[in-house]
Structure formats: C-alpha cells, structure tokens
Amino acid sequence: MSNLENRFILTQSQKMMVFILSMSLYGLSNMITELVPEFYIGPIELSVEYFAFIPLTLCILFHPLYAAIGASLGEVIFGEIMLGQFGGFGELEKFIAFSLAMYVAGTLVRDPKNKLQVGIAAMVGIIIHQAISAIVDILKVWVGVEELEAVPGLAESIVAIEGFYFLNDVLFSGILFALLPTVYLVPRLYGKIEPLLGMKPRTRDDRYSLKEIVGPRLIVGGILLAAFAFLFEFLSETEFNWEWEADFVEMFGDWFVFISIGVAAFIAIITLVVLSNRKKNNTQKDEKVS
C-alpha cells in the first residue's frame, strides 16, 4: 500500500475467478436469449438481442479486461460451439468487438455507486458494440461485392438496413436489457459480490486504461490486415479483368495462378499467426501482471 496511485492488482487466480464467473453467466444468458422468441411490429424486430447487462455489471465491478474476455468467450462457447453453430472467423470479429466495447464501458466507471456514470457507461458500451458490428457488416458487403458503387442502389440499401438495425438494437435492447438492469444491479452488488471472490471492492482510485488492450502490436496487426485487404481489392479490380485476362496469362505464364493461390494461402497463415500471437500476448500479460 505504499503507492495509492498503483493500479488495483489481482492475483492470477482472482483473474481466473472473474473470467470464469463472467464466462459462465453470460454463456447461460446467451442460451436463454436463444430460446426467447422474437416479436415483430411491422419491420421493427423486438428481440432480446443479448443480456448485455451481465458483462456490463461484471466489467464495472471487477477488472474489466478479464470480465470482458470471459464474457465474449462464454458467448462463443455456450452460444455457438455447444449449440453446434460455431462460425469460425466470423466469431473472431464478434469476440473482439464485444470485448472491446465491454472493456471500454468498464473503464468509464470510476465510482460504481454513481448511477449516472454506470448508466452512461452501459449505453456507451452498447453503442460501441453495435456500431462496430454495423460497420463490419457494411464492410463485408463492400469487400464481397466488386465495385459496389457501380451497382445501383446496393450501397444505399445496405447502409439503410444496418443503420436501422443499429438504432433498433441501441434503443430497444440497449435500454431494456443493458441500461435499466445494469443501473439496478451494480449498486446492489457492489461490496457484496467481491468478498465472495476474496477481493476488495473497487474504489475510486482504481483506474484502468485503454492502453492495456490496444497495444502497438494490435494496431500494427490491424493496419497490416487492412492493407492486405486493400491490396486484394486493388488486384481484383486491375488484373483480374475479363478483357485482357488472356494477355495476362500469356505475359506471365501459368505460374501467376499459383502465385495468387500462394498469396491467398499466405494471408490465411498471417491471420492465423496474428491470431495466435494476440492470444499469446494476452497470456504473457497475465503472467507479467501476476
């Protein structure tokens, strides 16, 4: 206790406890939301998107990083793998977006007893998550369709649909299943749930920063991947054109085909390496902090 400014440090097992708690609870809630049917009022879908209040509450009460990662993993395991719906790389995007959003929400709160702060954090968390998923969905169509601007009406329609879903989710799911329950639960659980895990409650002096999760490696990796994506977009628009495709094969010979296959395989490997590095980084961080 020599330095009060020091971050609230948890032991390795306490982190694991937060992780397991968040994983099993959010996983369970995911299973339940899968079972709750959806309601439609015209085009407006009133569905329980997710019980976001669970990871939000845990991120606010405990260390946000472990609670956030635990919740995302819980979603993948309980909601996807166990139901036989695991989507591979698509899950990665969800995983990152959700962890990031919940983590940011957790860092925003300095005082868990302040309902205004908790409420703002909950809404910010939801907005970040929904915004990221909307952008990713738009990008998917943008990457998937060649020369999107040339196709009449498609660009507008995808933006309109995603924007509509974004508002729908934020205003309906966000308020009913994130804002209200979080504001209700956090002050009630504060000081009660922490002793069960053998730790002291968060105080106003504990702060977490974004630096922990957005390290230089993550940024560099993101830029590289984006650059590769652009490169491919560029390649596909210039060289794979129908008109002079025959010339092209003659010019460079058949090996060009193998190069393009090779580059594609290379991208796959890079992604895998980046992925495993990220994970390794996380564990290394765990070791360092403990």
């Binding site: 099993s24 369970l28 999107l148 009913l176």
Partner: protein, 270 residues
C-alpha cells in the same frame, strides 16, 4: 400464461442435456472426425477467407460444389442446412428489395448472387469443420495452434457446468414466480405478461450472480490444487497432453486433394 409455459417447456433441463450431448458426440464415425484438428484448421483457413477476395463466379460455384460434397460427407443435418440457406436467401432478398427501392434494377441481382454464393461457401466450410469435431478434438486442436489453455479449459467447463447452471436458473425463476404475482390482465398484445416474464428473467440473475461467484471461487481453488495454472503456462505439460495428435496419411491426402481441386478450378476457369 400460455406463452410462458411454452417457454418453460423448452427450458427443461433434461432436454438441454440431451441436445448438448447430441450436438457434441452425435457424429464421431464420419470421415472428418477422424482427421487431425490441424488439418481441418488449415483447410478452413483457406476456404474461410479466400472466397472474400474472389470475384469469378465460376470459381466460386466450383468451390460451392466442393463444399456441398464435404457437407454431405460430414452428415450435417438437413435442418441446419435449410435454416442456413433460408437465412442467406432472406438476407440477399431483403437487400435486393431495398436496393430496388433506392433505384436499383435487375443488374443488382448478379452481384448479390455472387455475394450469396461467397457467404454460402464460407459458412458451409465452417459448418463442415466445426460440426464434425467433437469438443475434445476442438479444444486439443486449439491448444495445439497456440490458443491459451484457459480457452480449452472453458470449453470443458461449459459442458460440465451448463446443465447445473440451467437447473439453478430454473429454480430461481420458479421461486420468483411462486412468490410474485402474475399480472391479471394480459394487456394489449400480451404486453403485460411479456414484460412480467422479461423482468423476472432479468431479476433472476441477481441471486445467480452471487451463487456463481461462489462457484467460480471453488472452481479456481480446485484448479489450483490440481496444478492447472502450472499446466497453462508451461509448454512441457502441453506437449505431454497433446502427444496423441498426429498428422496421418489421410490428413495429407485430404489436404493434397483439396489443393489439387482448387488449382484445377483456377487453371480451368482463368
């Protein structure tokens, strides 16, 4: 009330357990289940990514054909396939309708068709790979490619704990219902009943949060006595655990065959 009862019927614990075991271990005799997890990961990392960057409809259709063959051999239930294709078609269709509204024409159809084929290839690839692996294979494979031990632990933990958690949630929910008072009138479009049940579903998490916290602590203490934390952080332990994973002849054959097929597609349609 009727609505709530239907929902509770679905949530019967036994049903959940049976479903889980079925999805997990239902198909261990198929070809893909005998392959090494790494083979499947490599295969998936190609077919899960490259379709995004291809715009040639013949190559994409060729890949789709290949995926259909693999899903057939993976014995994926037709129901899952139906849901998947309906979802994709619905998405494409709604995009098309709104695009027409924004001044699109039938020229919009072709790019949307290609996009749907792409998405189809990618999702069929992931279904083939991940539905044919059982949880043990999946977690061992993930461990092998460098995903931290916590993840594979969590998969095992999920299978062990989920039935207990569902049971407990069910208890809490029912006791809330016993003590509480259901609304006398349904309200417009059952709105009162629905909001009552939704509120109960959310409130039931309060006791559950506390009891799960206790359980998490017990779990971690048990893990510590077993020395699991040591295992997560030391490569020798991992090596010993994963000794059973071996690339066999059929793994290489499968990879080579897929590679040749893709090369053939590229050469033929280019």
């Amino acid at each position: 009330m009727e609505y709530g009862r239907k929902w509770m019927d679905k949530l019967s614990v036994e049903q959940v357990k049976i479903e889980l075991l079925h999805t997990a271990y239902g198909n261990s005799d198929i070809f893909f289940a005998k392959l090494d997890p790494r083979t499947l990961f490599i295969w998936y990392s190609y077919f899960g990514i490259t379709p995004w960057f291809l715009h040639n409809e013949y190559i994409l259709l060729g890949m789709l054909l290949f995926m259909l063959v693999t899903t057939y051999f993976a014995k994926i239930s037709p129901l899952i396939m139906l849901i998947l294709s309906l979802g994709l078609l619905g998405q494409g269709g709604s995009l098309l309708i709104i695009a027409l509204f924004f001044g699109g024409n039938w020229a919009t159809l072709m790019p949307l068709f290609i996009l749907t084929v792409k998405l189809m290839v990618i999702s069929l690839a992931s279904i083939t790979v991940f539905c044919s692996m059982n949880p043990t294979q999946l977690s061992n494979g993930l461990l092998k490619i460098g995903v931290p031990g916590q993840v594979s632990f969590s998969i095992a933990y999920g299978y062990r704990m989920l039935p207990t958690l569902v049971e407990e949630y069910h208890h809490v929910f029912q006791s809330f219902r016993l003590r509480g008072k259901a609304p006398e009138k349904r309200g417009f479009l059952y709105i009162r009943t629905i909001s009552y049940f939704v509120k109960l579903a959310v409130m039931s998490f309060y006791p559950l949060l506390l009891s799960t916290a206790k359980r998490a602590r017990t779990t971690v203490e048990a893990l510590e006595t077993k020395g699991s934390m040591y295992g997560f952080n030391h490569p020798e332990v991992k090596k010993l655990k994963l000794k059973t994973l071996k690339m066999k002849k059929r793994d290489y054959l499968f990879l080579i065959a897929s590679f040749l097929y893709v090369v053939l597609l590229f050469v033929y349609f280019y």
